[in-house]
Subunit: 340 residues, 2 copies
């Protein structure tokens, strides 16, 4: 079957190819009624725009690039789906680059996307990124850039995050309300802002409820199942065995859970457990893992909207750069609800 | 810090920028000794090649595109990591496009990658793809194409798959060896070859062990937790309650597991369960899910090697198009080992 062209559409609605092209590209010189007529005809004829030709005319590619640490982390996979959903409604295609948490790959990812002439980049910064030059380069080239979750304010671009401090505060307070008193925290690398925010939320919740903050009950792990296992082992072998654990993210919580169970302690009766991130496996492990939901899909949608806003408003005064902070949501499952 | 250029390297090793450029691009006119000297200097100076400039010279972008249904399916995420690992060793960057199982998005994904001038495409076909024109277009443009897992032989390009028939046969035989006799199968859409292969493997294993193939024990689901739940409910309400279930993939198995437990049956004592795919959650649910491992990382590595082979051998006779079939691996966990 020959591909349908704008000439076929023009013939169908008795107008010129040029008018059809303008209508399909929402040119202001074409009336709304004519646009609708032409778009309907295009749909009936099963017309697909030749994006390459279209982009040569407009200078746009209608491709948006995303850089994430890894889509094996459910949170990032869900953010990406959130972006894709809105992006597709706006006629954009999404290309994804995984940094695998390595800063050097992140630099290559940004280069690769710029090379692909994306219309914009939405990124979450890799854990071991040491320089921000590649992000500043994106800004310099005036390619719209939006950061989410793992951001750096000094880059000076719109961003969307959740309130990690508040989420950690909520998680810790929930454990306190369940009657736990020796609440441990397995944290992550402290140069990553969100992990430090969560640590501070944990500390402040304890203090607000007149519980002692005990360094022996704080472990610094590496955000993985293995690290969660090692940190939990250390906590159980420590002088003060905890009666509850708030883990910095769900993979760490999963490792901790394995060691708690293996050591013969009952969850939640003897040791309560809560994670952070609401990973896809978290409802399905036994007992189901209480956690903090990060509104990942909404984060993706908001990030894309910020990109669109930048396309329409390329120059925003520094003091007006938007930073959206989403509220975390406490998800209570079996692992933290003490039967009393 | 100013970026290191080929001029800096030339100065360091006392040669010309042109020689450095040729050496870094493996030009045959430069001796191996000189190449090594220059590459070592480049490394010491922390030189990173300007890929854009390099690609303008070579006509290559060193970008490879991947199209997968969804990285939320752990199998695909692992294949992608397998591809990335080898690709990076060969100086390629990887861009990912998710079709979300929809054929129309897959078409857009292929267009987007071609538009980004990728040097090759590695893809797994979306479940509801109805036309193969977009893949034939890739072939026509002489862009190397490799298919994995969900492939179509009629496209006529190299592919790497696992032996789904054999994996299903192994899973079913394992249940038979554990003493189960009324073994049900929850299958998937039959126009997808791999799901039909798994159904045939199940049927042939039963027959080989003189067990009756009973249509009432076969359900056709939709590869999701919800669908696994619905199919399992139907099996339990049927005339012949199964004493074991082989699910077409692990998400389906997870749904089945939830209903079996909710209905008060013990796994594996009363009902045995095995999945397919070895998803990341499968070791962590209770009881741990027996399954078939698809060698995802190796599949990714082999797919990339097939791409490289095509780059070096652009014209292969149709009868010589390689098709690599990897062996599945039986993973035995608690869900299928009957305590006797």
């Amino acid at each position: 079957m020959a591909r349908v062209t704008i000439h076929d559409i023009a013939k169908k609605v008795n107008t010129t190819a040029s008018t059809v092209s303008k209508a399909l590209n929402d040119h202001p010189s074409i009336s709304t009624a004519t646009k609708e007529l032409i778009k309907e005809a295009a749909q009936n004829l099963n017309y697909r725009q030749n994006r390459l030709a279209s982009s040569l005319r407009s200078g746009r590619t209608n491709i948006i690039g995303i850089v994430i640490p890894s889509s094996e982390i459910g949170f990032f996979a869900t953010v990406v789906h959130g972006i894709e959903k809105v992006a597709r409604n706006h006629g954009y295609n999404v290309l994804l680059f995984q940094s695998n948490i390595l800063g050097e790959y992140e630099v290559e990812g940004i280069e690769t996307l710029l090379h692909s002439s994306v219309d914009g980049i939405i990124a979450s910064i890799a854990k071991d990124t040491t320089t921000l030059d590649h992000y500043l380069e994106v800004k310099k080239r005036k390619v719209p850039l939006v950061l989410f979750d793992r951001t750096k304010d000094e880059i000076g671009v719109p961003s969307v995050v959740i309130d990690d401090y508040k989420g950690a505060y909520m998680a810790t307070e929930h454990l306190i309300e369940q009657g736990y008193t020796r609440i441990a925290h397995i944290s992550g690398a402290q140069h990553v802002k969100i992990f430090n925010d969560r640590l501070r939320g944990y500390v402040d919740a304890l203090r607000a409820h007149n519980l002692t903050v005990d360094d022996d009950l704080i472990q610094y792990g590496k955000n993985s199942i293995e690290s969660g296992r090692a940190c939990m082992q250390a906590l159980l072998e420590g002088a003060k065995k905890p009666d509850a654990v708030f883990a910095v993210e769900d993979f760490t919580a999963l490792g901790a859970q394995q060691i708690i169970k293996k050591s013969g302690y009952r969850i939640p009766e003897e040791i309560g457990l809560i994670g952070f991130g609401n990973e896809s496996f978290s409802p399905f492990i036994t007992p189901g893992l209480s956690t903090i939901d990060q509104q990942a899909a909404q984060m993706g949608e908001e990030a894309f909207k910020m990109f669109l806003h930048q396309v329409k408003n390329p120059t925003i005064a520094t003091e007006l750069i938007p930073k959206l902070v989403l509220d975390p949501v406490l998800i209570i499952r079996e692992s933290s609800v003490r039967k009393s």
